[in-house]
């Protein structure tokens, strides 16, 4: 479904990604793990055309999307929920969700249903529909970011560090919901520093070490892999 072929990205003189190959198949949860600064977010941003690639190519459903701008990719079926939530703090929860469905304008019934669905997943948001999103707690904002990215009805969801800064029980809940969304047919590329949790929900995983893929395997085998345990799972 999504394929990166030897993609490199430079920020000026620094090469943040070098020759990254990565594949995500329909229906999978794939996770990209790695230490802080390894280039995980850069990978996501390159897929969405937010940073230019210096070489290599990116394909989605058989079409090359290497230079397609981010807003067109949303129409093609790729939604990204970026690092740091990035909700529209100056707008209400409802307006944030409606903006998530920006490409579906006019389909009022669908948008209404999808908002109900988001409220089912995150009941705490429904109590705060008309509240300004900036007044939500960190966890609630993370839920809103998640809900907002579902409103586009993506085929592929790119999720950058959904568990960042959340209380442990919220982390559990977020991963549970990722699994649920995936069961409903959304393919997911999940970026995480919380490698242990990510490997438990994912089918396959890539480990990124300063700009290049170090290992890739099924999540199960990586969880058992001693090197990976030592380097990324702590303890």
């Amino acid at each position: 479904m999504l394929a990166l072929r030897s993609v490199s990205v430079r920020y000026g003189a620094i090469e943040a990604l070098s020759q990254v190959d990565l594949e995500v198949n329909q229906g999978e949860i794939v996770t990209l793990i790695g230490a802080n600064g390894a280039g995980k977010s850069t990978t996501i941003r390159a897929i969405c055309g937010q940073v230019p690639t210096s070489s290599g190519s990116i394909h989605f459903e058989g079409r090359e999307i290497t230079r397609t701008p981010a807003h067109r990719l949303v129409h093609a079926g790729i939604a990204q929920s970026p690092e740091g939530r990035r909700i529209f703090a100056n707008m209400t929860v409802r307006e944030n969700l409606e903006l998530g469905a920006f490409i579906h304008h006019g389909k009022h019934e669908q948008i209404r249903q999808d908002i109900d669905r988001v409220f089912q997943l995150f009941p705490r948001l429904s109590e705060r529909v008309n509240q300004s999103a900036g007044t939500l707690s960190g966890g609630e904002q993370q839920m809103l970011a998640m809900g907002r990215s579902l409103m586009a009805r993506p085929k592929l969801l790119l999720r950058d560090e959904p568990s960042l800064g959340l209380a442990p029980f919220l982390v559990q809940q977020i991963f549970q919901i990722i699994r649920e969304i995936n069961k409903e047919g959304v393919t997911i590329l999940l970026v995480e520093q919380n490698a242990y949790q990510a490997l438990r929900v994912a089918h396959r995983a890539y480990v990124l070490g300063t700009g290049s893929i170090v290992v890739s395997d099924t999540a199960e085998r990586l969880l058992a892999n001693e090197q990976v345990q030592a380097a990324y799972l702590g303890e």
Binding site: H71, A79, F102
Partner: protein, 369 residues
């Protein structure tokens, strides 16, 4: 007391015009973090459109000769207003498309064509004595030809200069566009001041306390109010308006919602341009002020100060800022310090930058980490 009320009414008239212009500054600042210094010149173009519409393009009748034509003239004035708004919004879009967008997305082929043409005409103009005998059509054809020939030069320059998103480049570009419009205006409209004769019925109403209000003042206030309320509706409740607000909060996140940010930015310039155009046309048609191609300069600067005073990026701030600036100017003009009426804007700017740089209604957004 009556004196003060009278000054206040003049201040509100002036202030609603400043507010109309300030809204354009603040909206563009909101979406692009750019001070569009060419905005005051868009207002000037609005005034000239108003002038030509009232004196040449539309069949207005001189009320001194045909007093019965008042009704027809009012209808025509509405047409003139809409015309100025349409032309100025198109100008806003053009400025965005050819001056600011290349700074964001790089200079495309179409941009190079455009700038080649812009350069081509003045260059042809230098050789005007040669063409004088041949008539204007030949001069235009040669101008276009020279323009297309300039294209590779423009493209080469753009590659050399390396356009980038730097704030300084944007600022220099904005000032450049402003100079281009002012000098282009001198070329097209000439340097002589123009003014419009009485074409609308002028009545004066006496308010309790002996304060006088003219119908033109009421018109300016009423039209400004309607436009500002429409703007508020567009920004709060329509799809492009919501997209504008999303962009002004976080343009990258807005792209991830599938928003075509370039289109929404163009829409923002169109809105701002139409408000400035309406302001310019009203000034030209209703206040008998003399209009010249440099006439947008001072109101533009004062409206910019109004936008900063209200809080850059805040729409209610621009309205309040405009009214405050208008009133302040009116009171200074009516006092013994009247020669400082234009200086008050700069005093306000300095004070606000020292005391409260985020403005009265601006939220102070900390730098993103």
């Amino acid at each position: 007391m009556q004196q003060i009320a009278q000054q206040l009414i003049y201040g509100i008239q002036l202030g609603s015009l400043y507010a109309l212009i300030a809204l354009g500054y603040t909206m563009v600042y909101g979406v692009l973090r750019l001070i569009n210094f060419a905005h005051g010149d868009v207002y000037m173009v609005g005034a000239f459109v108003g002038f030509y519409a009232c004196t040449r393009w539309l069949p207005f009748k001189d009320l001194a000769v045909h007093p019965e034509a008042a009704g027809a003239n009012i209808a025509l004035a509405v047409v003139a207003l809409l015309l100025a708004m349409a032309i100025c919004s198109a100008m806003g879009v053009l400025i965005e498309r050819f001056a600011y967008r290349p700074l964001r997305n790089g200079l495309q082929k179409a941009d190079a064509h455009f700038w080649g043409l812009v350069l081509g005409f003045p260059i042809t103009g230098l050789f005007m004595p040669v063409f004088n005998g041949w008539g204007p059509l030949v001069a235009v054809v040669v101008g276009v030809g020279v323009g297309f020939a300039m294209r590779p030069l423009v493209a080469w320059l753009a590659r050399r200069v390396k356009l980038s998103e730097s704030r300084l480049n944007a600022l220099i570009t904005a000032i450049g566009v402003s100079l281009l419009l002012e000098n282009g205006g001198l070329l097209v409209f000439g340097a002589n001041p123009n003014f419009i004769p009485n074409i609308l019925p002028e009545r004066t109403y006496m308010l309790p306390g002996g304060v006088m209000v003219g119908s033109s003042q009421l018109t300016i206030l009423g039209v400004s109010l309607v436009l500002m309320l429409s703007l508020r509706y567009i920004v709060m409740y329509t799809r492009p308006g919501k997209a504008m607000r999303a962009i002004s909060h976080d343009i990258e996140a807005a792209k991830l919602m599938g928003i075509d940010t370039d289109r929404v930015i163009a829409f923002t310039f169109a809105l701002g341009g139409s408000l400035a155009g309406a302001g310019g046309a009203m000034v030209a048609a209703l206040t008998h002020v003399k209009i010249t191609p440099l006439f947008g300069l001072l109101p533009g600067l004062k409206a910019f100060v109004a936008a900063v005073l209200g809080g850059a990026g805040s729409l209610p701030g621009a309205m309040v800022g405009g009214l405050l600036m208008g009133s302040a100017e009116s009171f200074v003009a009516g006092s013994s310090l009247s020669m400082f009426r234009d200086a008050i804007a700069f005093c306000v700017l300095i004070i606000i930058l020292l005391v409260r740089p985020a403005g009265l209604m601006g939220r102070h957004v900390p730098e993103k980490v």
